[in-house]
């Protein structure tokens, strides 16, 4: 089941050739200007911003800094990094080697969601491989987080990026977010993760109430629309006895657990098992109400169905990436050294249509560049427009220009 179309393409990409073709990519396709424009935010503090290059042979260069896009591009061509990471803005310019105390002061608030964190609920692939079915987990994650970041926190400048293999990143670039401390970021991440850990069951999410609060209720609405499709039809999580046991372990009440097990026993496929499960839980909850059971008992299972759905599908954040101010994160438009895919920005509104297996890869791009030049004589076309990277660059441009508009000084920025 592991992504037949991409396997083909990965075959045509050979990681060992990456270093040879990278200079061409950096010279002609990597959007240096916009990239640097983004990370300078219209001020002259670029030299305080950390970049990190990973060179072939696992050589890490940390605390690099550049004065402008031209210097950045020169270094890219010279050093040929197989990976570029973006770090924090520091209190002092990084070029001054005499300053050893490095105090990070600012950086985008970033979120990292990794497909491997879903391994317990995905049956189609595991570990690093990702197919179109897996991507749907990411679709839900993007939809849940995007709306929360915008509506609850009022952030506007969100850059969503496919990491090139098995994850997605979100760069929140509003000034409000960039100046937050590690602890403050932790609070936001905690709010967004809806988690309450508990030892009585393995559920990730425990709402501990009788009614959904507004953020949970919004999340449930999103998750509901995908649950049947992803969890029951695609992943068929309840088809195997192991999957059924997994679901039963999410039930906090032993009696209810047995009832659910019985109800699902004679059902064959995931859809009917899930229906039986929901019916049993609902019945149990109604009985609790009828029997006038205490609140403490009722809230244990009152929202169990919602909690279970959230458990399967609600975004699983790698919280450390978000809280660490000096944490490095792979830059957009990097080439993933293993797959050759470009780390491309995508539009969160159209995330459902995004196909991770159809992302442009470096060798395809360079071929397109060649083909275009053979067929067309035009000199005035921007380089990336000649390739399938066109759309991703457009999304990136729009993101950077919306930041500039906020600054109200488009000429300067």
């Amino acid at each position: 089941m592991t992504m037949p179309p991409s396997e083909e393409r990965e075959e045509s990409f050979k990681p060992e050739t990456l270093v040879d073709i990278l200079p061409l990519y950096y010279n002609r396709l990597f959007p240096c200007e916009t990239f640097i424009k983004w990370l300078s935010y219209g001020n002259d503090e670029l030299e305080k911003r950390e970049f990190s290059f990973t060179l072939d042979g696992d050589i890490y260069l940390r605390y690099l800094s550049f004065k402008d896009a031209a210097e950045f591009k020169e270094e890219l061509k010279k050093k040929k990094p197989i990976k570029i990471d973006v770090g924090a803005v520091y209190a002092n310019t990084l070029k001054d080697k005499r300053i050893t105390q490095k105090q990070p002061t600012e950086r985008e608030m970033v979120f990292d969601i990794d497909m491997t964190d879903y391994d317990d609920v995905r049956t189609c692939c595991s570990e690093a491989s990702v197919c179109q079915k897996c991507w749907k987990f990411m679709v839900v994650a993007v939809q849940c987080l995007d709306v929360a970041l915008r509506d609850d926190f009022g952030f506007n400048h969100l850059l969503w990026v496919f990491s090139g293999r098995r994850g997605i990143h979100c760069w929140v670039s509003d000034e409000e977010a960039r100046t937050m401390s590690g602890w403050e970021r932790g609070c936001v991440a905690q709010y967004l993760s809806l988690l309450t850990s508990d030892t009585k069951s393995t559920r990730r999410i425990i709402l501990n109430s009788e009614r959904l609060d507004p953020p949970a209720s919004r999340a449930v609405k999103i998750v509901e629309t995908h649950f049947n499709d992803i969890i029951l039809n695609d992943q068929e999580v309840l088809d195997s006895p192991k999957g059924v046991q997994y679901l039963l372990d999410l039930v906090p009440d032993d009696v209810l657990k047995q009832e659910c097990e019985k109800a699902m026993a004679d059902k064959i496929d995931s859809v009917s098992k899930w229906k039986a499960f929901c019916k049993t839980v609902q019945y149990h909850n109604q009985e609790d109400v009828k029997a006038k059971k205490g609140r403490r008992r009722r809230i244990q299972t009152a929202l169990l169905i919602e909690e279970v759905m959230l458990h399967y599908l609600y975004p699983r954040l790698d919280i450390h990436v978000t809280t660490g101010l000096n944490h490095l994160l792979k830059a957009p438009f990097c080439i993933h050294p293993k797959t050759g895919y470009v780390c491309v920005p995508f539009n969160p509104k159209h995330v459902a249509k995004f196909d991770p297996t159809a992302v442009p890869s470096i060798n395809v791009l360079l071929k397109e560049l060649g083909n275009f030049e053979e067929s067309t004589a035009s000199e005035n076309v921007r380089e990336y427009r000649k390739t399938s990277m066109n759309r991703s660059v457009a999304i990136f441009d729009e993101f950077v220009y919306s930041l500039a508009r906020m600054k109200n000084d488009p000429m300067e920025f």
Binding site: D112, W183, S197, T199, K200, P215, S217, N326
Partner: protein, 566 residues
């Protein structure tokens, strides 16, 4: 006849008047640096008292009570009284209303002691963070105790002017507000006031989803005002700490002041379990399997067994376990050998050398920033968020119940009652106490004379009991902490003492043991101050710097960054 007024009485009256204008309320935001003379011994005494109070804030929370809940507050107050912290206890129980008899002296002490600790705790980020978080907790707890009038007065005095949202806005957000603040019933909700503030001001509430968020604005219920004020206080303290840090050259130049402050930090440190970070060579790879069964806390045992079974551990688990082993006394060479021997069963040797050996060397302070990282404490482990497949984290908090049961039983606990006792703590969400209970059960006949807060502490305590030899070596300890009497802290446990307590082993956890973490300074130590002042046992600057370095683990995230992004 002499009609002139008694000069002494006038003086007293003036003094009272001055105090009442300076300290109009039981609670304060500590925004005025006190200017008065104080005797050096009083200086030290009130600072130590405050440190103890902050330590109580920490222990009560560690016991698993929900912060600022009624239980938490009751427990906190009892501890204050038990430890004889009179002036704070008085302030704590008063309602803050002006018609109750004011205790100006206590208020003054409150202010001065706060600033003395600022002087001591401004020295590193780790110290600062601990201080700020405990101080704000103490503040919120005290605010919660105030009566409604007391609160109102406090806000007026400090010019805090929160305007509740108008009725129309409340109506417009009716259902969302109602669903956010579900603990309110219909009548409570009708009369409740809500305040609208930027979300950054109430992040503590955002974190626990106790506010309604809308486009960056947070709607706070009037019951949560304490938290709102906490963010204001946090700013004030940050500011004070920054100011104090600038004064550091002057304060350290004053030898009397400096020795008292260092002593305070020693006291703080002795209450904080500080694992060794210098790698020694006291345990061998061959013994790990046996040690894991006898002396590992469950978190480490689980990782060890997962590693043996799967020959691989995920990143967070690798970090947590490597550092534990380092603290337990596994040399770098052995650590390399150990990890290699397991990992090569599932990967090529080259891959191991390329991807993992660097990280191990890094953790031992041999690569990168060359910083000697400290093993994780219980708090850090409990607050981590392991994924469903991770072997890291705290089993009492993060494991599935069946697995946890299996794990507990694997410690050879012979009674069902034992398992039940441990699970009771687990179910009431007190993982540290559950772990400590397990320690008692798996070391039968021995009492526990320590408040558990670190897996390495569990390990060394267990080794001490089993081998009867104090295995703990403290290469990094400062001279003064070596002088520190064993009776006052578990930092230097003595086997003899453990034996004395055989009878108390049946109690779930001697609360005494936990409280010992905030012990009064032993008289020997007091005397030690003078020695220090004479320059005899003062820790060298380098030692202090070393220790600060160890506390700083900000570099970790950099390492993680290298590892996590694909």
């Amino acid at each position: 006849m002499d009609f002139t007024r008694n000069p002494r009485r006038t003086l007293q009256k003036n003094y009272d008047a001055e105090l009442s204008s300076q300290f109009p309320h039981d609670l304060q935001l500590y925004n005025k640096i006190p200017k008065s003379t104080i005797l050096i011994h009083e200086f030290e005494e009130i600072a130590l008292e405050r440190l103890k109070a902050l330590r109580i804030v920490e222990t009560v929370t560690l016991r698993g009570f929900v912060k600022f809940s009624e239980e938490w507050r009751k427990n906190f107050h009892e501890e204050l009284k038990k430890q004889d912290l009179k002036s704070l206890s008085k302030l704590y129980s008063s309602l803050g209303v002006s018609n109750t008899a004011p205790n100006y002296e206590a208020r003054k002490k409150d202010l001065i002691s706060h600033f003395i600790l600022c002087l001591a705790f401004c020295r590193s980020d780790e110290l600062r963070n601990w201080f700020i978080s405990k101080e704000t907790d103490l503040f919120v707890a005290r605010f919660e105790e105030l009566s409604t009038e007391g609160r109102k007065e406090f806000m007026e005095l400090n010019n805090i002017d929160f305007q509740p949202i108008p009725q129309e806005e409340k109506k417009a957000k009716f259902s969302r507000l109602l669903n956010t603040f579900q603990y309110m019933n219909a009548t409570q909700f009708d009369s409740a006031d809500f305040y609208k503030v930027p979300f950054k001001k109430v992040l503590e509430l955002v974190r626990s989803r106790k506010v309604l968020l809308d486009k960056g604005q947070a709607y706070v219920a009037s019951g949560d005002l304490g938290n709102l004020l906490a963010s204001k206080l946090r700013q004030e303290i940050s500011h004070s700490l920054a100011v104090m840090k600038q004064c550091l050259p002057e304060t350290t130049a004053d030898i009397r002041l400096d020795s008292v402050l260092k002593c305070l930090l020693d006291q703080y440190e002795s209450g904080t379990y500080k694992p060794t970070t210098t790698s020694s060579n006291t345990i061998r790879i061959e013994d790990l399997d046996e040690l894991s069964k006898k002396s590992y806390p469950p978190c480490m045992r689980r990782m060890h067994e997962t590693l043996r079974a799967k020959h691989h551990l995920r990143h967070a688990a690798r970090l947590q376990y490597t550092l534990f082993l380092k603290g337990a006394g596994l040399s770098l060479e052995d650590a390399m050998k150990f990890w290699r021997s397991e990992f090569v069963k599932v990967m090529a040797v080259e891959k191991f050398e390329k991807e993992h050996s660097y990280n191990i060397r890094y953790n031992y302070g041999k690569e990168g920033k060359r910083c000697n990282y400290a093993p994780y404490g219980c708090n850090k482990i409990m607050n981590s968020q392991p994924g469903p497949e991770d072997a890291s984290g705290c089993p009492f908090k993060h494991s599935k119940p069946q697995e946890l049961r299996k794990l507990i039983l694997s410690y050879g606990i012979d009674s069902n009652q034992g398992l039940k006792d441990v699970m009771e703590y687990v179910n009431s969400q007190q993982p540290v106490l559950a772990c400590q209970k397990l320690f008692v059960l798996s070391h039968p006949g021995k009492g526990v004379e320590f408040g558990l807060c670190h897996p390495n502490q569990y390990f060394t305590e267990s080794r001490t009991i089993i081998t009867g030899v104090n295995v703990k070596q403290e290469p990094g300890s400062t001279p003064s902490s070596a002088v520190n009497s064993p009776a006052s802290t578990y930092a230097t446990p003595s086997p003899g003492r453990a034996r004395e307590n055989v009878n108390s082993s049946s109690t779930p956890l001697s609360t005494k043991a936990v409280l010992n973490r905030a012990t009064p300074m032993s008289s020997r130590k007091m005397l030690n101050v003078d020695n220090k002042a004479a320059g005899k046992t003062e820790p060298s600057k380098d030692e202090v710097a070393d220790w600060m370095d160890e506390l700083d683990d900000s570099d970790f995230s950099q390492l993680e960054a290298m590892d996590t992004t694909n």
